[in-house]
Protein backbone atom coordinates (compact mmCIF):
# COMPACT_ATOMS: atom_id res chain seq x y z
CA UNK A 1 0.00 0.00 0.00
CA UNK A 2 2.63 2.49 1.10
CA UNK A 3 6.36 2.00 0.67
CA UNK A 4 9.30 4.07 1.79
CA UNK A 5 12.62 3.29 0.17
CA UNK A 6 15.82 4.82 1.50
CA UNK A 7 13.97 7.96 2.44
CA UNK A 8 15.71 10.94 3.99
CA UNK A 9 13.99 13.99 5.36
CA UNK A 10 14.88 17.10 7.29
CA UNK A 11 13.47 20.56 7.80
CA UNK A 12 15.51 23.47 6.50
CA UNK A 13 18.75 21.68 5.61
CA UNK A 14 19.00 19.63 8.80
CA UNK A 15 18.58 15.91 8.44
CA UNK A 16 15.96 14.42 10.72
CA UNK A 17 16.34 10.87 9.48
CA UNK A 18 17.95 9.15 6.52
CA UNK A 19 17.84 5.85 4.61
CA UNK A 20 14.56 4.79 6.09
CA UNK A 21 12.72 1.93 4.45
CA UNK A 22 9.28 0.76 5.37
CA UNK A 23 6.59 -1.29 3.67
CA UNK A 24 2.98 -1.25 4.75
CA UNK A 25 1.52 -4.41 3.26
CA UNK A 26 -2.27 -4.61 2.79
CA UNK A 27 -3.96 -5.54 6.04
CA UNK A 28 -0.86 -5.03 8.16
CA UNK A 29 -0.80 -3.30 11.54
CA UNK A 30 2.21 -1.17 12.47
CA UNK A 31 3.11 0.85 15.51
CA UNK A 32 5.68 3.60 15.23
CA UNK A 33 7.28 4.61 18.50
CA UNK A 34 10.15 6.81 19.52
CA UNK A 35 10.91 9.77 21.71
CA UNK A 36 9.19 13.05 21.19
CA UNK A 37 10.86 14.99 18.40
CA UNK A 38 12.29 11.86 16.75
CA UNK A 39 10.28 12.52 13.60
CA UNK A 40 7.26 10.26 13.92
CA UNK A 41 4.81 12.88 12.70
CA UNK A 42 7.18 13.77 9.89
CA UNK A 43 7.40 10.12 8.80
CA UNK A 44 3.62 9.83 8.77
CA UNK A 45 3.26 13.02 6.73
CA UNK A 46 5.62 11.51 4.15
CA UNK A 47 3.30 8.50 4.01
CA UNK A 48 0.26 10.57 3.08
CA UNK A 49 2.18 12.83 0.71
CA UNK A 50 1.87 15.92 2.89
CA UNK A 51 5.66 16.20 2.67
CA UNK A 52 8.01 15.16 -0.09
CA UNK A 53 11.10 13.11 0.66
CA UNK A 54 14.42 14.92 0.29
CA UNK A 55 15.98 11.68 -0.87
CA UNK A 56 14.72 8.21 -1.65
CA UNK A 57 11.32 7.21 -2.86
CA UNK A 58 7.86 7.12 -1.31
CA UNK A 59 5.30 5.03 -3.15
CA UNK A 60 1.62 5.48 -2.35
CA UNK A 61 -0.61 2.81 -3.88
CA UNK A 62 2.20 2.03 -6.31
CA UNK A 63 2.59 5.63 -7.46
CA UNK A 64 5.66 7.73 -6.85
CA UNK A 65 4.46 10.24 -4.27
CA UNK A 66 7.10 12.74 -5.38
CA UNK A 67 5.65 12.79 -8.88
CA UNK A 68 2.00 13.29 -7.92
CA UNK A 69 0.41 16.56 -8.93
CA UNK A 70 -1.82 18.43 -6.49
CA UNK A 71 -5.01 16.77 -7.69
CA UNK A 72 -3.45 13.33 -7.47
CA UNK A 73 -2.33 14.08 -3.93
CA UNK A 74 -5.93 15.03 -3.12
CA UNK A 75 -7.15 11.77 -4.68
CA UNK A 76 -4.66 9.69 -2.70
CA UNK A 77 -5.84 11.37 0.53
CA UNK A 78 -9.26 9.91 -0.15
CA UNK A 79 -7.80 6.45 0.16
CA UNK A 80 -5.83 7.21 3.31
CA UNK A 81 -7.69 8.12 6.46
CA UNK A 82 -5.57 10.27 8.73
CA UNK A 83 -6.11 10.94 12.42
CA UNK A 84 -3.96 14.01 12.99
CA UNK A 85 -2.09 14.64 16.18
CA UNK A 86 -4.00 17.87 16.77
CA UNK A 87 -7.22 16.58 15.17
CA UNK A 88 -7.53 19.54 12.73
CA UNK A 89 -11.23 20.31 12.86
CA UNK A 90 -13.09 23.25 11.43
CA UNK A 91 -14.39 24.90 14.57
CA UNK A 92 -17.29 26.67 12.89
CA UNK A 93 -18.81 23.36 11.76
CA UNK A 94 -20.57 20.81 13.92
CA UNK A 95 -18.92 17.49 14.77
CA UNK A 96 -21.21 15.74 12.32
CA UNK A 97 -20.25 18.15 9.54
CA UNK A 98 -16.57 17.77 10.39
CA UNK A 99 -16.80 14.01 10.23
CA UNK A 100 -18.59 14.23 6.88
CA UNK A 101 -16.04 16.67 5.47
CA UNK A 102 -13.99 14.13 3.47
CA UNK A 103 -17.19 13.08 1.68
CA UNK A 104 -18.31 16.67 1.21
CA UNK A 105 -15.08 17.77 -0.45
CA UNK A 106 -15.08 14.80 -2.78
CA UNK A 107 -18.57 15.66 -4.00
CA UNK A 108 -20.18 12.74 -2.19
CA UNK A 109 -21.86 14.77 0.51
CA UNK A 110 -25.18 13.06 -0.17
CA UNK A 111 -23.69 9.72 0.97
CA UNK A 112 -22.89 11.19 4.35
CA UNK A 113 -26.37 10.88 5.82
CA UNK A 114 -26.48 7.08 5.88
CA UNK A 115 -22.91 6.50 7.03
CA UNK A 116 -22.80 9.30 9.50
CA UNK A 117 -25.41 8.05 11.91
CA UNK A 118 -23.83 4.61 12.02
CA UNK A 119 -20.35 6.05 12.40
CA UNK A 120 -21.32 8.44 15.19
CA UNK A 121 -22.77 5.55 17.15
CA UNK A 122 -19.72 3.41 16.45
CA UNK A 123 -17.44 6.00 18.08
CA UNK A 124 -20.09 6.80 20.70
CA UNK A 125 -20.63 10.42 19.68
CA UNK A 126 -24.33 10.31 18.79
CA UNK A 127 -25.34 12.84 21.44
CA UNK A 128 -22.51 15.24 20.52
CA UNK A 129 -23.26 15.27 16.77
CA UNK A 130 -24.38 18.89 16.68
CA UNK A 131 -21.80 20.31 19.05
CA UNK A 132 -18.78 22.27 17.86
CA UNK A 133 -15.31 20.71 18.18
CA UNK A 134 -14.08 23.07 20.95
CA UNK A 135 -16.97 21.92 23.16
CA UNK A 136 -15.76 18.31 23.13
CA UNK A 137 -13.34 16.59 25.49
CA UNK A 138 -9.96 15.39 24.24
CA UNK A 139 -11.12 11.80 23.97
CA UNK A 140 -14.28 12.76 22.14
CA UNK A 141 -12.27 14.81 19.69
CA UNK A 142 -9.92 11.88 19.07
CA UNK A 143 -12.86 9.61 18.37
CA UNK A 144 -14.39 12.21 16.06
CA UNK A 145 -11.06 12.43 14.25
CA UNK A 146 -11.06 8.66 13.82
CA UNK A 147 -14.62 8.75 12.52
CA UNK A 148 -13.64 11.41 9.99
CA UNK A 149 -10.64 9.33 8.94
CA UNK A 150 -12.76 6.29 8.13
CA UNK A 151 -15.88 7.86 6.61
CA UNK A 152 -14.61 7.49 3.04
CA UNK A 153 -13.74 3.86 3.91
CA UNK A 154 -10.07 4.28 3.10
CA UNK A 155 -7.68 1.41 2.50
CA UNK A 156 -5.10 2.75 4.90
CA UNK A 157 -5.57 4.44 8.26
CA UNK A 158 -2.76 6.50 9.70
CA UNK A 159 -3.13 7.75 13.26
CA UNK A 160 -0.74 10.17 14.93
CA UNK A 161 -0.79 9.82 18.73
CA UNK A 162 -4.50 8.99 18.74
CA UNK A 163 -4.37 8.43 22.50
CA UNK A 164 -2.18 11.44 23.15
CA UNK A 165 -4.37 13.19 25.67
CA UNK A 166 -6.95 10.66 26.78
CA UNK A 167 -7.21 8.41 29.79
CA UNK A 168 -6.50 4.70 29.81
CA UNK A 169 -10.09 3.63 29.35
CA UNK A 170 -10.54 5.93 26.36
CA UNK A 171 -7.30 4.79 24.78
CA UNK A 172 -8.51 1.23 25.12
CA UNK A 173 -11.70 2.17 23.32
CA UNK A 174 -9.84 3.87 20.53
CA UNK A 175 -7.48 0.95 20.19
CA UNK A 176 -10.34 -1.50 19.95
CA UNK A 177 -11.89 0.61 17.20
CA UNK A 178 -8.60 0.52 15.27
CA UNK A 179 -8.25 -3.22 15.78
CA UNK A 180 -11.79 -3.63 14.53
CA UNK A 181 -10.87 -1.73 11.39
CA UNK A 182 -7.77 -3.87 10.90
CA UNK A 183 -9.90 -7.00 11.17
CA UNK A 184 -12.05 -5.53 8.41
CA UNK A 185 -8.92 -5.59 6.25
CA UNK A 186 -7.67 -2.02 6.64
CA UNK A 187 -3.96 -1.30 6.76
CA UNK A 188 -3.10 0.53 9.96
CA UNK A 189 -0.14 2.67 11.00
CA UNK A 190 -0.17 4.26 14.45
CA UNK A 191 2.45 6.59 15.87
CA UNK A 192 2.45 6.49 19.64
CA UNK A 193 4.67 6.43 22.67
CA UNK A 194 1.95 4.78 24.69
CA UNK A 195 3.70 1.47 25.35
CA UNK A 196 0.81 0.15 27.40
CA UNK A 197 -1.43 0.49 24.37
CA UNK A 198 1.06 -1.35 22.20
CA UNK A 199 1.23 -4.21 24.69
CA UNK A 200 -2.54 -4.39 24.88
CA UNK A 201 -2.77 -4.49 21.10
CA UNK A 202 -0.18 -7.22 20.74
CA UNK A 203 -2.24 -9.50 22.86
CA UNK A 204 -5.04 -9.21 20.33
CA UNK A 205 -3.42 -8.94 16.90
CA UNK A 206 -0.05 -9.46 15.32
CA UNK A 207 1.37 -5.97 15.05
CA UNK A 208 4.86 -4.92 14.09
CA UNK A 209 6.46 -2.30 16.28
CA UNK A 210 9.00 0.09 14.74
CA UNK A 211 11.12 2.46 16.70
CA UNK A 212 12.40 5.77 15.34
CA UNK A 213 15.41 7.05 17.22
CA UNK A 214 18.46 9.10 16.26
CA UNK A 215 17.45 9.12 12.64
CA UNK A 216 17.18 5.35 12.41
CA UNK A 217 14.15 3.13 12.09
CA UNK A 218 14.55 -0.20 13.82
CA UNK A 219 12.29 -3.07 14.63
CA UNK A 220 11.48 -3.11 18.32
CA UNK A 221 11.16 -6.50 19.80
CA UNK A 222 11.38 -8.25 23.08
CA UNK A 223 11.41 -5.27 25.41
CA UNK A 224 7.70 -4.83 24.76
Amino acid sequence: MIELENVSYGYGGQTLFSHISLTLAPGSFHFLTGPSGAGKTTLLRLCYADLRANKGKVRVFGQDAGALNRDEVAMSRRRIGVVHQDCQFLDHLSIAENIALPLTVSGRGHEAAQNLHELLNWVGLGPQANQRPPELSGGERQRAALARAVIVSPDVIIADEPTGNVDWEMSQRLLSLLIELNKMGKTILIATHDLAMIRAAKSDISARVLRLKDGQLVQAGAEL
Binding site: R70, A74, M75, R77, V82, Q88, E97, T104, G109, V152
Partner: protein, 297 residues
Protein backbone atom coordinates in the same frame (compact mmCIF):
# COMPACT_ATOMS: atom_id res chain seq x y z
CA UNK B 1 -23.97 26.35 -19.09
CA UNK B 2 -24.13 23.72 -16.39
CA UNK B 3 -20.90 25.05 -14.92
CA UNK B 4 -22.44 28.51 -14.89
CA UNK B 5 -25.54 27.25 -13.14
CA UNK B 6 -23.41 25.43 -10.59
CA UNK B 7 -21.48 28.60 -10.00
CA UNK B 8 -24.68 30.53 -9.39
CA UNK B 9 -26.30 28.01 -7.10
CA UNK B 10 -23.12 26.83 -5.47
CA UNK B 11 -22.58 23.90 -3.19
CA UNK B 12 -24.11 24.86 0.14
CA UNK B 13 -21.86 22.43 1.95
CA UNK B 14 -18.73 23.89 0.39
CA UNK B 15 -19.99 27.34 1.23
CA UNK B 16 -20.37 26.34 4.83
CA UNK B 17 -16.88 24.89 4.95
CA UNK B 18 -15.33 28.24 4.04
CA UNK B 19 -16.89 30.88 6.26
CA UNK B 20 -17.81 34.33 4.97
CA UNK B 21 -15.28 37.02 5.66
CA UNK B 22 -17.26 40.18 6.34
CA UNK B 23 -14.63 42.78 5.50
CA UNK B 24 -13.80 41.52 2.02
CA UNK B 25 -17.48 41.03 1.18
CA UNK B 26 -18.35 44.65 1.82
CA UNK B 27 -15.19 45.88 0.18
CA UNK B 28 -15.84 43.95 -3.02
CA UNK B 29 -19.47 44.99 -3.28
CA UNK B 30 -18.62 48.61 -2.60
CA UNK B 31 -15.78 48.86 -5.11
CA UNK B 32 -17.75 47.00 -7.78
CA UNK B 33 -20.67 49.38 -7.29
CA UNK B 34 -18.55 52.53 -7.44
CA UNK B 35 -16.64 51.33 -10.49
CA UNK B 36 -19.83 50.33 -12.30
CA UNK B 37 -21.30 53.75 -11.51
CA UNK B 38 -18.26 55.49 -12.97
CA UNK B 39 -18.40 53.23 -16.01
CA UNK B 40 -22.04 54.12 -16.67
CA UNK B 41 -21.34 57.84 -16.45
CA UNK B 42 -18.30 57.49 -18.71
CA UNK B 43 -20.26 55.50 -21.26
CA UNK B 44 -23.15 57.96 -21.20
CA UNK B 45 -20.88 60.94 -21.79
CA UNK B 46 -18.89 59.14 -24.44
CA UNK B 47 -21.93 57.94 -26.37
CA UNK B 48 -23.64 61.30 -26.14
CA UNK B 49 -20.60 63.20 -27.39
CA UNK B 50 -20.36 60.79 -30.23
CA UNK B 51 -23.98 61.17 -31.14
CA UNK B 52 -23.91 64.95 -30.99
CA UNK B 53 -20.75 65.11 -33.06
CA UNK B 54 -22.00 62.81 -35.77
CA UNK B 55 -25.33 64.63 -35.91
CA UNK B 56 -23.62 67.97 -36.29
CA UNK B 57 -21.17 66.58 -38.77
CA UNK B 58 -23.96 65.11 -40.88
CA UNK B 59 -25.81 68.42 -40.85
CA UNK B 60 -22.69 70.28 -41.76
CA UNK B 61 -21.75 67.90 -44.53
CA UNK B 62 -24.97 68.52 -46.40
CA UNK B 63 -25.09 72.22 -46.00
CA UNK B 64 -23.19 75.34 -46.85
CA UNK B 65 -23.69 78.98 -46.09
CA UNK B 66 -23.28 81.86 -48.44
CA UNK B 67 -22.54 85.19 -46.83
CA UNK B 68 -23.21 88.40 -48.77
CA UNK B 69 -21.40 91.64 -47.96
CA UNK B 70 -23.27 93.85 -45.51
CA UNK B 71 -23.67 96.82 -47.79
CA UNK B 72 -27.25 98.22 -47.73
CA UNK B 73 -26.79 99.84 -51.15
CA UNK B 74 -26.07 96.67 -53.11
CA UNK B 75 -27.72 94.12 -50.87
CA UNK B 76 -30.85 93.44 -52.88
CA UNK B 77 -29.04 93.18 -56.21
CA UNK B 78 -26.43 90.86 -54.77
CA UNK B 79 -29.09 88.66 -53.20
CA UNK B 80 -30.87 88.31 -56.51
CA UNK B 81 -27.77 87.39 -58.49
CA UNK B 82 -26.60 85.03 -55.74
CA UNK B 83 -29.94 83.20 -55.76
CA UNK B 84 -29.73 83.10 -59.52
CA UNK B 85 -26.30 81.46 -59.47
CA UNK B 86 -27.26 79.00 -56.79
CA UNK B 87 -30.50 77.91 -58.40
CA UNK B 88 -28.66 76.99 -61.58
CA UNK B 89 -25.93 75.08 -59.78
CA UNK B 90 -26.14 71.29 -60.11
CA UNK B 91 -26.27 69.40 -56.78
CA UNK B 92 -27.88 72.24 -54.89
CA UNK B 93 -31.26 70.98 -53.74
CA UNK B 94 -32.47 73.87 -51.65
CA UNK B 95 -31.61 77.52 -51.37
CA UNK B 96 -33.10 79.83 -48.81
CA UNK B 97 -32.22 83.33 -47.78
CA UNK B 98 -32.59 83.71 -44.05
CA UNK B 99 -35.24 86.18 -43.00
CA UNK B 100 -34.45 89.02 -40.68
CA UNK B 101 -36.15 87.21 -37.80
CA UNK B 102 -34.02 84.15 -38.36
CA UNK B 103 -30.83 86.14 -38.47
CA UNK B 104 -31.89 87.87 -35.31
CA UNK B 105 -32.50 84.49 -33.65
CA UNK B 106 -29.01 83.38 -34.63
CA UNK B 107 -27.43 86.45 -33.08
CA UNK B 108 -29.62 86.50 -30.02
CA UNK B 109 -27.46 84.20 -27.88
CA UNK B 110 -24.59 86.66 -28.31
CA UNK B 111 -26.21 90.07 -28.39
CA UNK B 112 -29.50 89.64 -26.57
CA UNK B 113 -33.08 89.90 -27.84
CA UNK B 114 -33.22 93.68 -28.28
CA UNK B 115 -30.69 93.94 -31.08
CA UNK B 116 -31.90 96.48 -33.69
CA UNK B 117 -30.82 94.40 -36.65
CA UNK B 118 -32.16 96.67 -39.36
CA UNK B 119 -29.98 99.50 -38.04
CA UNK B 120 -26.81 97.43 -38.31
CA UNK B 121 -24.89 96.29 -41.35
CA UNK B 122 -25.41 92.56 -40.95
CA UNK B 123 -24.39 90.26 -43.80
CA UNK B 124 -27.23 88.45 -45.49
CA UNK B 125 -26.99 84.70 -45.01
CA UNK B 126 -28.19 82.13 -47.53
CA UNK B 127 -28.66 78.57 -46.46
CA UNK B 128 -27.75 76.00 -49.07
CA UNK B 129 -28.62 72.32 -48.85
CA UNK B 130 -26.71 70.05 -51.20
CA UNK B 131 -27.09 66.41 -52.11
CA UNK B 132 -23.38 65.82 -52.25
CA UNK B 133 -22.98 63.82 -55.46
CA UNK B 134 -22.73 66.23 -58.40
CA UNK B 135 -22.20 69.24 -56.19
CA UNK B 136 -18.98 71.00 -57.22
CA UNK B 137 -17.77 73.47 -54.57
CA UNK B 138 -14.88 74.86 -56.57
CA UNK B 139 -17.03 75.47 -59.66
CA UNK B 140 -19.61 77.25 -57.55
CA UNK B 141 -16.93 79.34 -55.90
CA UNK B 142 -15.58 80.45 -59.27
CA UNK B 143 -19.01 81.43 -60.57
CA UNK B 144 -19.84 83.31 -57.36
CA UNK B 145 -16.65 85.36 -57.40
CA UNK B 146 -17.42 86.38 -60.97
CA UNK B 147 -21.09 87.21 -60.52
CA UNK B 148 -21.52 88.04 -56.81
CA UNK B 149 -18.46 90.05 -55.76
CA UNK B 150 -17.67 89.84 -52.05
CA UNK B 151 -19.80 86.75 -51.40
CA UNK B 152 -18.17 84.17 -49.19
CA UNK B 153 -19.09 80.50 -49.46
CA UNK B 154 -18.56 78.53 -46.28
CA UNK B 155 -18.87 74.82 -46.99
CA UNK B 156 -18.24 73.89 -43.29
CA UNK B 157 -15.36 71.47 -43.91
CA UNK B 158 -13.22 73.61 -41.66
CA UNK B 159 -15.68 72.99 -38.82
CA UNK B 160 -16.40 69.37 -39.47
CA UNK B 161 -12.92 67.87 -39.26
CA UNK B 162 -12.00 69.19 -35.79
CA UNK B 163 -15.47 68.33 -34.55
CA UNK B 164 -15.15 64.71 -35.62
CA UNK B 165 -11.60 64.66 -34.34
CA UNK B 166 -12.65 65.95 -30.93
CA UNK B 167 -15.47 63.42 -30.76
CA UNK B 168 -13.06 60.59 -31.61
CA UNK B 169 -10.78 61.71 -28.81
CA UNK B 170 -13.57 61.86 -26.27
CA UNK B 171 -14.55 58.36 -27.37
CA UNK B 172 -10.97 57.12 -27.00
CA UNK B 173 -10.69 58.65 -23.55
CA UNK B 174 -14.02 57.05 -22.64
CA UNK B 175 -12.88 53.58 -23.61
CA UNK B 176 -9.51 54.07 -21.90
CA UNK B 177 -11.34 54.97 -18.70
CA UNK B 178 -13.50 51.85 -19.05
CA UNK B 179 -10.40 49.67 -19.49
CA UNK B 180 -8.76 51.31 -16.46
CA UNK B 181 -11.91 50.70 -14.42
CA UNK B 182 -11.82 47.04 -15.44
CA UNK B 183 -8.16 46.76 -14.48
CA UNK B 184 -8.85 48.42 -11.13
CA UNK B 185 -11.67 46.01 -10.42
CA UNK B 186 -9.41 43.07 -11.30
CA UNK B 187 -6.62 44.37 -9.06
CA UNK B 188 -8.94 45.07 -6.16
CA UNK B 189 -10.64 41.70 -6.38
CA UNK B 190 -7.28 39.97 -6.55
CA UNK B 191 -6.28 41.73 -3.34
CA UNK B 192 -9.57 40.96 -1.62
CA UNK B 193 -9.40 37.32 -2.71
CA UNK B 194 -5.80 37.05 -1.49
CA UNK B 195 -6.88 38.48 1.86
CA UNK B 196 -9.81 36.09 2.09
CA UNK B 197 -7.57 33.12 1.25
CA UNK B 198 -4.90 34.18 3.73
CA UNK B 199 -7.55 34.69 6.40
CA UNK B 200 -8.79 31.15 5.81
CA UNK B 201 -5.36 29.52 5.58
CA UNK B 202 -6.02 27.04 8.38
CA UNK B 203 -9.38 26.04 6.97
CA UNK B 204 -7.83 25.55 3.55
CA UNK B 205 -5.09 23.38 5.06
CA UNK B 206 -7.71 21.18 6.73
CA UNK B 207 -9.70 20.89 3.51
CA UNK B 208 -6.55 19.83 1.65
CA UNK B 209 -5.80 17.27 4.36
CA UNK B 210 -9.18 15.62 3.98
CA UNK B 211 -8.76 15.35 0.21
CA UNK B 212 -10.19 18.56 -1.28
CA UNK B 213 -8.85 19.46 -4.69
CA UNK B 214 -7.68 23.00 -5.36
CA UNK B 215 -10.57 23.52 -7.77
CA UNK B 216 -13.05 22.68 -5.02
CA UNK B 217 -11.57 25.16 -2.59
CA UNK B 218 -11.09 27.82 -5.26
CA UNK B 219 -14.72 27.45 -6.34
CA UNK B 220 -16.04 28.52 -2.95
CA UNK B 221 -14.07 31.77 -3.22
CA UNK B 222 -14.62 32.32 -6.94
CA UNK B 223 -18.35 31.92 -6.57
CA UNK B 224 -18.60 34.45 -3.79
CA UNK B 225 -16.44 37.08 -5.40
CA UNK B 226 -18.16 36.66 -8.75
CA UNK B 227 -21.62 37.08 -7.26
CA UNK B 228 -20.53 40.00 -5.10
CA UNK B 229 -18.88 41.80 -7.99
CA UNK B 230 -21.92 41.25 -10.22
CA UNK B 231 -24.32 42.33 -7.48
CA UNK B 232 -22.29 45.40 -6.59
CA UNK B 233 -21.94 46.33 -10.26
CA UNK B 234 -25.69 45.97 -10.79
CA UNK B 235 -26.36 48.39 -7.94
CA UNK B 236 -23.75 50.78 -9.34
CA UNK B 237 -25.29 50.60 -12.81
CA UNK B 238 -28.79 51.30 -11.47
CA UNK B 239 -27.57 54.30 -9.50
CA UNK B 240 -25.58 55.45 -12.52
CA UNK B 241 -28.63 55.22 -14.79
CA UNK B 242 -30.64 57.09 -12.18
CA UNK B 243 -28.11 59.91 -12.16
CA UNK B 244 -27.95 59.96 -15.97
CA UNK B 245 -31.73 60.29 -16.17
CA UNK B 246 -31.50 63.38 -13.94
CA UNK B 247 -29.21 65.13 -16.41
CA UNK B 248 -30.74 67.81 -18.69
CA UNK B 249 -32.58 66.18 -21.57
CA UNK B 250 -32.40 67.90 -24.93
CA UNK B 251 -35.49 68.16 -27.12
CA UNK B 252 -35.74 65.93 -30.11
CA UNK B 253 -35.92 68.76 -32.67
CA UNK B 254 -32.68 70.46 -31.74
CA UNK B 255 -29.48 68.90 -32.87
CA UNK B 256 -27.49 71.40 -30.85
CA UNK B 257 -28.24 69.95 -27.44
CA UNK B 258 -28.87 66.24 -26.99
CA UNK B 259 -29.76 64.69 -23.67
CA UNK B 260 -26.94 62.79 -21.95
CA UNK B 261 -27.87 59.14 -21.91
CA UNK B 262 -28.21 55.97 -23.91
CA UNK B 263 -30.13 55.27 -27.08
CA UNK B 264 -31.00 52.08 -28.92
CA UNK B 265 -28.13 49.59 -29.11
CA UNK B 266 -26.10 51.66 -26.67
CA UNK B 267 -28.28 50.23 -23.89
CA UNK B 268 -26.42 46.95 -24.27
CA UNK B 269 -23.36 48.47 -22.63
CA UNK B 270 -24.69 49.53 -19.24
CA UNK B 271 -26.52 46.20 -19.06
CA UNK B 272 -23.27 44.39 -19.88
CA UNK B 273 -21.37 46.02 -17.03
CA UNK B 274 -22.49 43.59 -14.28
CA UNK B 275 -21.71 40.70 -16.62
CA UNK B 276 -18.26 42.09 -17.37
CA UNK B 277 -17.68 42.70 -13.66
CA UNK B 278 -18.60 39.07 -12.98
CA UNK B 279 -16.23 37.84 -15.68
CA UNK B 280 -13.38 39.98 -14.37
CA UNK B 281 -14.05 38.83 -10.80
CA UNK B 282 -14.27 35.19 -11.87
CA UNK B 283 -10.88 35.13 -13.56
CA UNK B 284 -9.14 37.39 -11.03
CA UNK B 285 -10.30 35.28 -8.08
CA UNK B 286 -9.56 32.02 -9.85
CA UNK B 287 -6.01 33.06 -10.67
CA UNK B 288 -5.44 34.39 -7.16
CA UNK B 289 -6.88 31.27 -5.56
CA UNK B 290 -4.83 28.76 -7.53
CA UNK B 291 -1.64 30.77 -7.05
CA UNK B 292 -2.27 31.14 -3.35
CA UNK B 293 -3.19 27.48 -2.87
CA UNK B 294 0.03 26.36 -4.53
CA UNK B 295 2.05 28.63 -2.25
CA UNK B 296 0.11 27.95 0.89
CA UNK B 297 -0.16 24.19 1.22
Amino acid sequence: MRALLELMLGDPQADRAVPQTGMTVRLTVFVAAVMAFLAVITLAVSFTTNRVASLWAADLAQSATLRLPADPATADALLLSALDVLETTPGVTRVRALSQDEQQALLEPWFGPDLPLDALPVPQLIEIVTDGDDYDVEGLRARLSAQVPGAILDDHTAWRAPLLDAAARVRLIGWSVIVLIGATVAAMITLAAQAALAGNARIIAVLRLVGAKDAYIARAFVRRFTLRAAGGALVGVLIGLGVVSLMPQGDATSSLLLGVGFEGAEWVWPLLIPVLAAIVAFFATRAAAFRRLREQT
